[in-house]
């Protein structure tokens, strides 16, 4: 450890302690000391992450490693309580439901002709889960491919039809737009020609842009045809449309990112330092 880093460490510790004491004095109630510690800790972690922007440093490393450990455990606990206790147990066992004090729901699959109780149906994921854990046994590791095959297969099937319906068929039909909006002949069209945002020309222009944009965008994605000649021209128009899309998307997103920073600074200035209301 260099001398400078020791000085920094001491300063950080002093600042932490000072903040704890000052906050504890400002807070009221039974848990004043505890709350002061927690808010100081949260502020310390916030600043530790921000310090990464300057460069990698021990405080960031500390925050990063803490974050990894805590978050891994957090999601494990959430998974256990919400999936196993919340969804699996109520379907398979009445006495376990009572143990965890969740309402037993039972139920099953009703195919009209026969009835398959969840009590047995939901043994399938348990078996698959145990097969997955066979990875830990070196000789039987290959059997863990079964649950993986199950997962990939089911979701390939489900995604296939879902995407076909929602991202595909519906999007195609949404691009069926009339190119002639409010059409009363050429005379009317040219006499009213203007760039007014809600005028006839702009409405028609928008529809044309959408239609051509979709077609050219799709042409850009053609893999098995060389992009030359008119096809190449269309593909070039397609990439421009995509670039406008990405530019717009980027510009729009900046807004949200600033809000997040405002949120953090509000915490630092408000909850921690108490200088804004």
């Amino acid at each position: 450890m260099s001398r400078a880093s020791i000085v920094v460490l001491v300063l950080v510790c002093v600042a932490f302690a000072a903040s704890w004491v000052v906050r504890a004095g400002a807070n009221e109630g039974d848990a004043a000391v505890r709350d002061a510690f927690l808010v100081t800790l949260a502020a310390f972690l916030t600043l530790a992450i921000f310090s990464f922007m300057y460069r990698d440093n021990p405080y960031y490393k500390f925050a990063e490693h803490l974050f990894v450990g805590v978050s891994a455990a957090y999601w494990m606990c959430m998974g256990f309580w919400s999936t196993i206790v919340g969804n699996l147990v109520p379907r398979i066992s009445e006495s376990l439901s009572d143990f965890f004090q969740v309402p037993y729901s039972g139920g099953g699959l009703d195919f009209g002709l026969f009835y398959f109780s969840y009590r047995y149906f939901y043994l399938i994921p348990i078996i698959l889960g145990i097969l997955l854990l066979m990875r830990l046994v070196p000789k039987a590791g290959w059997i863990s491919r079964w649950p993986l095959a199950f997962i990939v297969g089911t979701f390939a099937g489900l995604n296939l039809v879902r995407y076909l319906q929602s991202d595909f068929i519906i999007q195609i039909s949404a691009s069926f737009v009339p190119l002639f909006v409010d059409w009363h002949g050429f005379g009317h069209f040219f006499s009213g020609l203007s760039l007014a945002a809600n005028g006839q020309f702009v409405a028609m222009l928008s529809n044309l842009v959408v239609f051509l944009g979709v077609i050219c965008g799709l042409i850009y994605f053609f893999f098995s045809k060389e992009h030359v000649g008119w096809f190449g021209g269309a593909s070039r128009l397609g990439i421009w449309i995509l670039m406008i899309t990405f530019g717009a998307s980027f510009g729009y997103t900046v807004m949200g990112r600033i809000s997040l920073l405002v949120g953090r600074l509000t915490f630092l200035f408000g909850d921690w330092l108490g200088i804004i209301g």
């Binding site: 990063e64 891994a72 069926f176 045809k225």
Partner: protein
């Protein structure tokens, strides 16, 4: 303070008596007023059919409006819908409620008995500590209401005794009650067939004036209170009602009708057609490719860059970082990334460059380990494979980023490859990668994140290209065949869009209507 919890149990006792209570509802006697307006005309052409495209348990009624639906003194304001219920339905209902009550009671006992016992013990301990039983404890939720400890103790003891005595009895009742319910359910079909004996008409709903249809649905769950029996003869009546509820048309009756599930949802025919189209295209072109037909694919710069990037890493003697993103193994983008990882890992094994694969999801990690391992095996370098090169980081987006950013600055990989699903972390990763001076190749189908990759990575695969990448890298004719099929589907779409536009311009809604998917 701490006696509060215990006292809940005492209160439980007071409530207990109501456990098996049943309530009778007497039908309200509506005052019979002399009709001041003439009754409206009844509905005509009433039809009852099984609701289409469902799993059963529903009947749809349709009718033509009463001629008085519209205006006039006796204008129809609503249509009352009635269904004939055999009395057996009530039997089923009450049996179901009994069973539920018994179950609840058993469960309550199972949970509350140990709590009551504990509470009794604690209360006794407290009393012993204070050496008196002459204090009062507050009852929660009832401000200002307190009980003497003596009273609370005796009540608790009574509760415990009551629970102990009754639990076995209650438990032994569940089985027979279940059987009884099952038998009653079996009798339902017969009871419905006995129309009009042993049953009565009950109102099941209202359709507002102007409506010409009504759907009567219920649950498919036999244990639910609104269970709707399939394959049973059902009868319906519809009456037109005026503003004065006593003035109504004569009832029109329809039946018998049975509900049942359909094996095919006709509203989804367009989807089926597209599935079949895809299947035909894919199989055809894959067969063609297998026969050796030469299929052209245009070069993708992002893909070509992968090889160079691996070469560069080898020259510099630095590792390659491969990220599968934050998708789980069910998502197709993650699966596409597995395929790309397989190809990349094979090259990496050939070049003997180290590879680092930090994973976001344990299942993804398991698959990735499998993929990398067999790629090394294929390259004939299974000895070089180290399992710790593919590892789990954490299951939370930003913690994952924090850790990967650390890896980037500390391990200084020569090349970062991002393939799969990326959300907000895209820019955090890519900017840190730029800072570390790595060559970066990205590919994602998250539209919102593509711009960030475009601005900070050297090469970016846009949307669909991610799915094509594995076929490109694999260079197997079969996979290229499926790319060709994809292009044909694209051509079909463009033709459809063109035709759709023409159809809209000419005012033919039928074409657009075909693309309507219901359900």
């Amino acid at each position: 303070m701490k006696h509060k919890l215990k006292l809940i149990l005492v209160l439980l006792l007071f409530i207990w008596g109501t456990a098996a209570a049943q309530s009778d509802t007497a039908p309200g006697d509506a005052a019979i007023a002399a009709p001041s307006i003439p009754p409206p005309a009844p509905v005509t052409n009433l039809q009852a059919t099984d609701t289409d495209n469902d799993h059963g348990h529903a009947i749809t009624l349709t009718w033509e409006k009463s001629t008085d639906d519209g205006a006039g003194a006796n204008a129809v304001v609503a249509y009352d819908v009635w269904r004939w219920y055999p009395l057996e339905m009530d039997v089923v209902d009450s049996l179901r409620q009994d069973l539920a009550a018994t179950r609840d009671a058993v469960r309550a006992f199972r949970i509350d008995l140990p709590r009551a016992e504990r509470a009794l013990e604690e209360l006794q301990e407290d009393a012993a500590k204070l050496n008196t039983t002459r204090f009062r404890v507050a009852v929660p939720d009832v401000p200002g209401f307190t009980l003497t400890v003596d009273y609370a103790l005796s009540k608790l003891a009574d509760t415990i005794a009551y629970m102990r005595d009754n639990r076995p009895i209650l438990m032994s009742r569940i089985k027979p009650e279940q059987q009884e319910l099952a038998q009653a359910l079996e009798r339902l079909t017969q009871a419905h067939a006995a129309f009009p004996q042993n049953g009565e008409w009950r109102t099941i709903g209202k359709a507002l004036a102007g409506a010409t249809s009504f759907t009567n649905t219920g649950s498919k769950d036999q244990t639910s209170s609104d269970f709707f029996p399939d394959y049973s003869d059902l009868y319906y009546r519809v009456e037109a009602v005026t503003i004065d509820p006593a003035v109504r048309s004569e009832a029109v009756q329809v039946g018998p009708v049975q509900s049942k599930g359909q094996w095919f949802h006709t509203g989804k025919i367009p989807v089926v057609l597209f599935v079949v189209m895809f299947l035909v295209f894919t199989v055809t072109f894959v067969q063609l490719a297998k026969k050796g037909t030469d299929l052209y694919v245009r070069p993708l710069s992002g893909i070509e860059a992968v090889d160079d990037a691996i070469g560069r890493a080898t020259e510099m003697g630095r590792p390659i970082l491969y990220l599968l993103g934050i998708g789980v193994a069910t998502e197709v983008n993650t699966i596409a990334s597995f395929s790309i990882l397989g190809r990349v890992a094979k090259r990496v094994a050939e070049f003997q460059t180290p590879i680092i694969v930090p994973c976001y999801d344990p299942i993804v990690m398991a698959v990735a380990q499998e993929v990398v391992k067999s790629s090394f095996l294929d390259a004939g370098r299974s000895d070089d494979y180290r399992q710790e090169s593919v590892f789990f980081v954490t299951n939370y987006q930003f913690a994952y980023v924090a850790a990967v950013n650390g890896i980037m600055l500390r391990e200084r990989p020569a090349t970062n490859i991002y393939m799969g699903k990326f959300m907000a972390e895209s820019l955090l990763l890519a900017e840190t990668g730029t800072l570390a001076g790595s060559i970066q190749i990205a590919g994602t189908d998250e539209i919102a994140q593509i711009p960030f990759f475009i601005v900070s990575c050297d090469y970016t695969l846009i949307g669909e290209e991610l799915y094509a990448a594995s076929a490109y890298l694999g260079r197997e004719p079969v996979l290229l065949g499926s790319l060709k099929a994809q292009d044909w589907a694209k051509a079909v779409i463009m033709v459809c869009a063109l035709m759709g536009m023409v159809a809209t311009a000419l005012g033919w809604p039928a074409f657009a209507h075909f693309f309507q998917v219901t359900g």
